[in-house]
């Protein structure tokens, strides 16, 4: 009886060990994926229109203090990104620009720039319109670093 019980315990331990090892190996390749948050603004309107599909990201990363100015006819906007958590936060951002008629300006490709922000840290993002013009609008897209893997 005891011998049989010992065998069962040993096999259970081995099975759990095999599963644990497999989970450990799998965990090494996990990367965060998630929906995007977007913040839209236009010339002269500093209140951001927010679409926050990724609530977890929105809670841990605040977009603050948007300011703007015109430099040689081009719109320049700046934002502060504040990590509200004590742990480091990884995210990626990109910006789309739109002309006076609302058409996306395709002069520059949309590039998601990865950023790693330390716990409770902050950084500033400055965006410049690819063309000179008035009433340009922009959309800042912030997402978890949806990675190729």
């Amino acid at each position: 009886m005891n011998f049989s019980h010992h065998l069962t315990v040993t096999s259970l331990t081995r099975t759990l060990g095999a599963c644990g090892l497999a989970l450990l190996l799998g965990a090494c390749t996990l990367t965060p994926r998630g929906a995007q948050n977007s913040y839209q603004g236009t010339t002269g309107k500093l209140e951001l229109e927010r679409i926050e599909g990724n609530r977890s990201l929105a809670a841990s990363l605040l977009i603050q203090d948007p300011i703007e100015k015109l430099v040689d006819g081009r719109q320049v906007a700046q934002f502060k990104l504040q990590n509200t958590r004590s742990s480091a936060k990884r995210f990626a951002w990109a910006v789309d620009w739109f002309d006076e008629d609302g058409f996306r300006i395709t002069d520059v490709a949309r590039v998601f720039e990865p950023v790693s922000l330390g716990g409770n840290g902050s950084t500033y993002i400055t965006i410049t319109s690819p063309r000179a013009g008035k009433k340009m609008s922009w959309k800042l897209i912030v997402t978890d670093p949806d990675e190729v893997h």
């Binding site: 096999s11 081995r14 002069d107 520059v108 410049t128 190729v148 893997h149």
Partner: protein
């Protein structure tokens, strides 16, 4: 015997998942961190940063003077990017991306670099000498645009590795720092009129089984 069978059964789904291989189109804008080496996201980030800066650089405004007539665009030659990293990187990928985006931005005109001059020379010689092209339409030498500025740069890196040890839990850490410097120089005066630096830092931590 029973134990072996149980272990096999436990491992079977994992083997099955691992055996699945798929091919699919993916978003070229996704962040690429397959390895710590220079990758597509690094190239896109560097190029995008430089293009944004160049398109809005007030230092080049004096070249857009009224004496040029209706087309005030700055005539630029895209030079090379010197690869001073330890990796084999096709830096023409960076210069091609920068040139293409600058052209679309509408502030710059580009003259062909060395790569295109041979093709142009061959074609002009053909048009002039083969007797097959209408003489009124045959192009001739000596009418190419003269570049006002040349854009060139350097890509360098510093790499550090910390090997596995009990101290760091048998993990291996690698760190690489890339610095991309691009300069715009006035060909006539030799003055560097614009320069920008983009730095990228990447880290990789390899687990015991990595």
């Amino acid at each position: 015997m029973m134990n072996t069978a149980r272990l096999f059964l436990a491992a079977l789904p994992l083997l099955a998942f691992g055996a699945c291989s798929t091919v699919a189109y993916d978003d070229p804008d996704k962040v690429e961190t397959l390895t710590i080496d220079f990758g597509s996201t690094d190239l896109q980030t560097m190029a995008s940063n430089m293009v944004t800066s160049l398109n809005s650089a007030p230092q080049l405004a004096y070249l857009e003077n009224p004496s040029k007539g209706s087309d005030k665009r700055v005539i630029m030659l895209m030079g090379g990017v010197n690869n001073r990293t330890t990796e084999h990187i096709d830096t023409e990928g960076i210069t091609d991306s920068v040139r293409s985006a600058l052209l679309q931005g509408g502030r710059f005109r580009f003259v062909v670099a060395k790569q295109g001059q041979e093709e142009i020379g061959d074609q002009v010689r053909f048009q002039q000498g083969a007797g097959r092209v209408d003489p009124s339409q045959a192009r001739s030498f000596g009418k190419q645009l003269g570049a006002e500025v040349v854009l060139f740069g350097t890509l360098r890196s510093i790499e550090k590795t910390k090997g596995r040890s009990l101290e760091n839990g048998l993990t291996k850490k690698e760190d690489v720092w890339y610095q991309f410097v691009l300069e715009c120089t006035n060909i006539e005066t030799g003055e560097i009129i614009w320069s920008n630096i983009k730095e990228i830092r990447k880290g990789e931590k390899k687990g015991i089984f990595g």
